[in-house]
């Protein structure tokens, strides 16, 4: 299957019902066999407006190249290690934003909710002397409760999520200030496991390589077993050559990245935690019935309802996950800062979390996106921030540039939606 000589026409002509996989028998299908075919299929998809993660990856490469030219320290191992640690908190919040955007909804209150989480942690753990585990559980429970409230208001009264969460933005900011009380700022002890986890814990080099090997092995095994099952079912399957190439490329990319980070402090535990969340939510979105229902509701609520999907439960679950992830992000941010104060969750956290999801390629129009958007989008935003800091430019410039990047992402989203329409893939 992997020879590049055989043109599409040849394949189509040789095709007889008995030798061709079930899904490739229609004579109108353009067969994209071999490496050349894969490239052709890719360009057809891109022209049809199915851009996926392509724009953000190109954007990231451009941003990195520009900053590296302006300041040779930008791509240093030290700076990249910092970058990974800066990504984790807001990136985690952004995963929740991806989920609500997939439904075609929005949560504007994630910043306030994350600040509330930080305040709850600091007050109960530091001031009241709780076991930090209970503090974390309480904060998470508050996140769940907030999501349930949003979901209830949305499904029961049909209030637009934009308005509900705008009210939440104010309300939970107030609650955060009230929880913090007159103290205003609370430091979290450096020797607590939270701060250790966020600031000090890095994977030993060998562990990072072992994890990568295991991850790639699982990935390759999935592809192999899927190919086997497809062949057994009489469907076209990914050729062994492709699987090997993919696995090797992934192994080399991840291995090189880990090696480069390991030149200095290495791969931070908090970053690994964030990556694990991205992978978990990617699995949930693409491989479970719940994920399928989320996409269906985002694509056409009425169709989802008529196919028996309990639409209200999907809304509820997504609002709960989004608020809870916002709390988790707040806990990570407080741990990294070793403090919670009145500014926790404020500033640009809210908008960065939302911008990251959109920059990463999740559509504002619902039904299109991926958990990886959170990772790629936050890398873009933090790269800009880190690069400008290295250039000694203050936040005024950072806000303006991030604003422009967000605008570009939204334009790309709208344009690709338009070309999907034109190509009949709306």
């Amino acid at each position: 299957m992997s020879d590049t000589k055989s043109s599409a026409a040849d394949v189509a002509q040789d095709a007889t019902a008995s030798t061709v996989a079930t899904d490739l028998q229609d004579e109108r299908l353009i067969h994209n066999a071999g490496a050349g075919g894969a490239v052709r299929a890719f360009f057809t998809r891109v022209r049809g407006g199915d851009l996926g993660t392509l724009p953000v990856i190109i954007g990231l490469v451009v941003i990195w190249a520009v900053f590296q030219l302006l300041n040779p320290n930008f791509l240093s191992s030290t700076n990249l290690v910092n970058l990974t640690l800066q990504c984790a908190a807001v990136g985690t919040i952004s995963i929740g934003i991806v989920l609500v955007l997939l439904l075609g909804e929005i949560d504007l209150s994630v910043g306030s909710v994350s600040g509330l989480g930080a305040a709850i942690l600091a007050v109960t753990f530091v001031q009241q002397g709780w076991n930090p585990i209970f503090s974390i559980l309480l904060a998470l429970a508050v996140g769940v409760a907030i999501g349930l409230l949003y979901g209830f208001l949305y499904t029961r009264f049909g209030v637009p999520s934009f308005v509900i969460t705008l009210a939440g933005l104010l309300g939970f900011l107030g609650l955060q200030l009230w929880v913090l009380g007159p103290t205003g700022s609370i430091n979290i002890p450096f020797d607590s496991f939270l701060v250790q986890f966020a600031q000090q814990w890095f994977l030993p080099a060998w562990v990072s390589y072992l994890l990568i090997v295991l991850f790639v092995a699982v990935y390759a095994w999935q592809l192999v077993s899927q190919a086997r099952r497809r062949t057994a079912a009489g469907l076209s399957a990914m050729p062994a050559g492709s699987i090997i190439v993919r696995a090797v490329v992934l192994l080399l990319l991840l291995g090189a990245a880990a090696w480069y980070l390991n030149l200095t402090r290495g791969v931070g535990a908090m970053f690994v935690f964030f990556l694990a969340l991205v992978l978990i939510f990617n699995y949930a979105l693409t491989r479970t019935r719940w994920g399928r229902a989320v996409f269906a509701v985002g694509g056409n609520v009425e169709a989802a309802r008529r196919s028996g999907i309990r639409v209200n439960r999907i809304y509820m679950s997504v609002f709960v996950l989004c608020s809870t992830l916002a709390i988790v992000g707040g806990l990570l941010a407080a741990s990294r800062l070793a403090a919670a104060n009145q500014g926790s969750g404020g500033g640009d956290i809210n908008l960065n979390a939302i911008a990251a999801a959109v920059i990463g390629g999740t559509s504002l129009f619902g039904g299109r996106g991926s958990a990886f958007s959170a990772l790629l989008g936050i890398l873009v935003i933090q790269s800009i921030s880190s690069g400008l800091t290295l250039l000694n430019l203050d936040s005024s410039v950072r806000y303006m540039i991030t604003g422009v990047v967000l605008l570009l992402a939204v334009i790309v989203d709208s344009l690709s939606r338009r070309s999907r329409r034109a190509a009949g893939r709306a």
């Binding site: 079930t22 899904d23 229609d26 109108r28 299908l29 049809g48 899927q226 099952r229 497809r230 079912a233 009489g234 469907l235 699995y283 491989r287 479970t288 019935r289 399928r292 229902a293 996409f295 269906a296 985002g298 694509g299 056409n300 009425e302 169709a303 989802a304 008529r306 196919s307 028996g308 999907i309 039904g367 299109r368 999907r420 190509a423 009949g424 893939r425 709306a426």
Partner: protein, 278 residues
């Protein structure tokens, strides 16, 4: 063929009397949308329901689909009196309805749309392989022309979308399929495609209720045509024995012709009912 993981319910044999409506009525406020409606559907039979705008066709469909409960009359399913109080009841009985707005998810592919809400799983994750395989089996049995089941629905033609919507209704192994104006928005070739598909449904032994505006389509595939006029039965003909003029006369209310035929048919259909209940 079992499309779902549940055991297949007993299939009806050709000629079985699946559905019988007697004296069904429906009032919306001051509007009596349906009055004293009778309708019979047998296995392996295509029954067309025709009528002018506002005749009550969609209301009748909605009663069978469980969207509106009827005000009066009885509905018998396989000889048992039933109440269809909700869409779930309707599905449970084995009535599949394809509404005029197809309600497909444009952002999902054909397989995902076919199995939406009843996805198969394998080790707790979606069993894409099995779903794709069974999708092909089903589409092949329907001789459906879908080049790839992995393209998003949005890239399909109107006829192909209609095909997917109809195929989806079959996944629950229904015994009656109701199609509300399936060819209304389609071109000539696509209409032919959908009419072919309706023939396949009949060959599978399903009872098919076809709502249509188009007399030519009705004459092409239906076995019987039931005319509604102002919410009442206004004729029930065997398509083989009736001219399009007669049908049109019954639709528009030039009733002298239709009434006699209806009266003639009434005796015939009563004898069918007695036969079936024996």
């Amino acid at each position: 063929m079992t499309l779902t993981s549940q055991p297949t319910t007993e299939r009806s044999r050709p000629g079985d009397h699946i559905l019988a409506l007697r004296g069904v009525g429906k009032k919306f406020g001051a509007i009596q949308a349906l009055t004293d409606i009778e309708l019979d559907v047998h296995a392996g039979e295509v029954v067309a329901i025709v009528g002018d705008n506002g005749a009550g066709k969609s209301t009748l469909v909605k009663i069978l689909a469980g969207v509106h409960p009827p005000d009066g009359g009885t509905i018998e399913f396989h000889g048992n009196k039933v109440a269809i109080a909700s869409p779930a009841d309707s599905k449970q009985l084995g009535i599949a309805t394809v509404f005029q707005d197809l309600a497909l998810c444009d952002n999902l592919d054909v397989v995902a749309n076919l199995w939406l809400g009843r996805e198969l799983t394998h080790n707790a994750s979606l069993d894409e392989v099995e779903m794709e395989k069974r999708s092909w089996t089903l589409l092949r049995e329907l001789s459906a022309k879908i080049p790839s089941v992995r393209t998003p629905i949005a890239s399909l033609s109107g006829g192909q979308r209609q095909t997917v919507a109809i195929a989806r209704s079959l996944i629950g192994e229904p015994s009656v399929v109701i199609l509300d104006e399936p060819t209304a928005a389609l071109g000539v070739a696509q209409t032919a495609e959908v009419l072919n598909l309706i023939e396949r449904l009949r060959e599978r032994g399903l009872g098919v209720v076809l709502i249509s505006h188009n007399i030519a389509d009705v004459q092409a595939v239906a076995d019987r045509v039931v005319v509604l006029r102002l919410g009442r039965n206004n004729g029930d003909f065997r398509v083989a024995d009736v001219s399009s003029e007669t049908i049109i006369a019954a639709i528009t209310g030039a009733t002298d012709n239709a009434v006699t035929r209806r009266a003639a048919h009434k005796t015939a259909s009563t004898s069918i009912v007695t036969e079936a209940s024996e």
